[in-house]
């Protein structure tokens, strides 16, 4: 069974007849491919942004994902396009991270607290930034599981399919990721007080 997130992502393909855009893109129509990118750019860039942690890397990842999409148009199963895009996005992020590892470990929380200015930081904006930072403290698999499940709205089974792991593993990763994030936020808040 598909969640609303996957159904909504795939609905775009059906809007103009059955796979008409995809078929045109397969035939080499660059305009159709541009339309295909527009339909899925929120999925790809949004996910990549949360996984990579910064916009520049996310754009690089998205570019690579769409180039892979173009190269694989002929053999793609249109029914699973959204799942395919999620999988490739996660994989390209993983490759990018191997080339350039993230540099914000969990232990940076006290430093972040010390660097912040209590007078200037508006509570809400700071909290948003803190939540996004807490994502970076997670391991790669935990972050992928949490982003796909909690932010993109995929079911545990769908996340397991995208990540190539079991449902039990995804549940465990999601649970640990939530607890780690909460620990990070709590440490940061305690430091500020």
């Amino acid at each position: 069974m598909k969640t609303l997130a996957l159904v909504a992502a795939e609905a775009g393909d059906q809007r103009e007849g059955p796979d008409s855009v995809l078929e045109a893109a397969r035939a080499g129509d660059r305009g159709a491919f541009d339309l295909l990118m527009r339909r899925h750019e929120r999925l790809v860039l949004g996910t990549a942004f949360r996984l990579a942690g910064n916009l520049e890397d996310a754009q690089d990842v998205s570019q690579e994902v769409f180039l892979r999409l173009y190269r694989n148009l002929a053999k793609l199963d249109t029914g699973n396009l959204a799942a395919w895009l999620y999988r490739v996005t996660v994989n390209v992020c993983h490759d990018a991270r191997r080339r350039r590892p993230a540099t914000v470990p969990v232990d940076d929380a006290p430093e972040l607290a010390a660097a912040g200015d209590p007078q200037q930081s508006a509570g809400e904006a700071e909290r948003r930034a803190l939540l996004l930072r807490s994502l970076r403290t997670l391991s790669e698999r935990e972050r992928a599981a949490l982003v796909l499940h909690d932010l993109e709205g995929l079911s545990t089974a769908e996340v397991a399919g995208v990540l190539g792991s079991s449902v039990a593993t995804v549940r465990s990763q999601v649970s640990k990721a939530r607890l780690k994030m909460r620990d990070f936020v709590e440490r940061y808040s305690r430091r500020r007080l």
Partner: protein
């Protein structure tokens, strides 16, 4: 303090990821545990905050940048992409040739073994030949049928000092003729590269060819 054994389940409960039975068990625990109740509330708050942040769309130009880069990449001539297998093949061929040259330069030259030379050709002093193995019955059969063991082909055309590779194996009466009429067995002495190794070749000429 929270209950460590409940933490993971509370984390899943906060996201609505537990089945009915498990959720009921967690709710029962939360009703009795203040710390876990606080944990669940914090987790819900953070999840909601994160979802709100994620739901905010990025600026349109960020998407446009990606699309522009992709289309520009696709508009590039395909020559580079199509030619890469050839480039790889050429690079591999050059690398293989370089390796072969290096290996050939490093290998020491192996001298060809020196062929034995004929140092003397002389009739052999005939000695009493030991009786051939075999039963009396088989000896009698040989006498009856006239069977004889074949002699080896005689060395012919050989000269002292000549290498074996140039020895002519055709019959040469001058060489193969025995010094004594009654001595059909001849001996050829061959010298090898090792002075301690000398090869003696004994053979018997056939009577008809003398």
């Amino acid at each position: 303090m929270t209950c460590a054994m409940w933490e993971e389940r509370v984390a899943l409960f906060a996201g609505g990821d537990l089945g009915t039975a498990e959720a009921t068990a967690v709710e029962r625990h939360l009703s009795q545990c203040v710390a876990c109740r606080a944990l669940a509330a914090e987790l819900r708050l953070e999840l909601d905050g994160l979802r709100q942040v994620h739901a905010e769309p990025l600026a349109a130009e960020h998407y446009a940048v990606v699309r522009g880069r992709v289309l520009a990449e696709l508009a590039k001539p395909q020559r580079g992409r199509a030619a890469w297998p050839l480039a790889w093949a050429a690079a591999l061929a050059v690398a293989a040739a370089a390796v072969w040259v290096v290996v050939m330069m490093k290998l020491p030259a192996i001298p060809a073994p020196e062929l034995p030379r004929v140092v003397s050709i002389a009739p052999m002093v005939e000695r009493p030949v030991p009786r051939e193995p075999g039963s009396k019955r088989s000896l009698k059969r040989r006498e009856r049928t006239g069977w004889q063991a074949k002699a080896p082909a005689p060395l012919a055309g050989g000269k002292v000092g000549q290498t074996l590779s140039s020895v002519n194996l055709q019959v040469n009466p001058v060489v193969s003729r025995p010094a004594a009429e009654d001595s059909p067995v001849r001996m050829v002495q061959l010298a090898t590269a090792d002075p301690n190794v000398v090869i003696y070749w004994l053979f018997e000429e056939k009577g008809e060819e003398r």
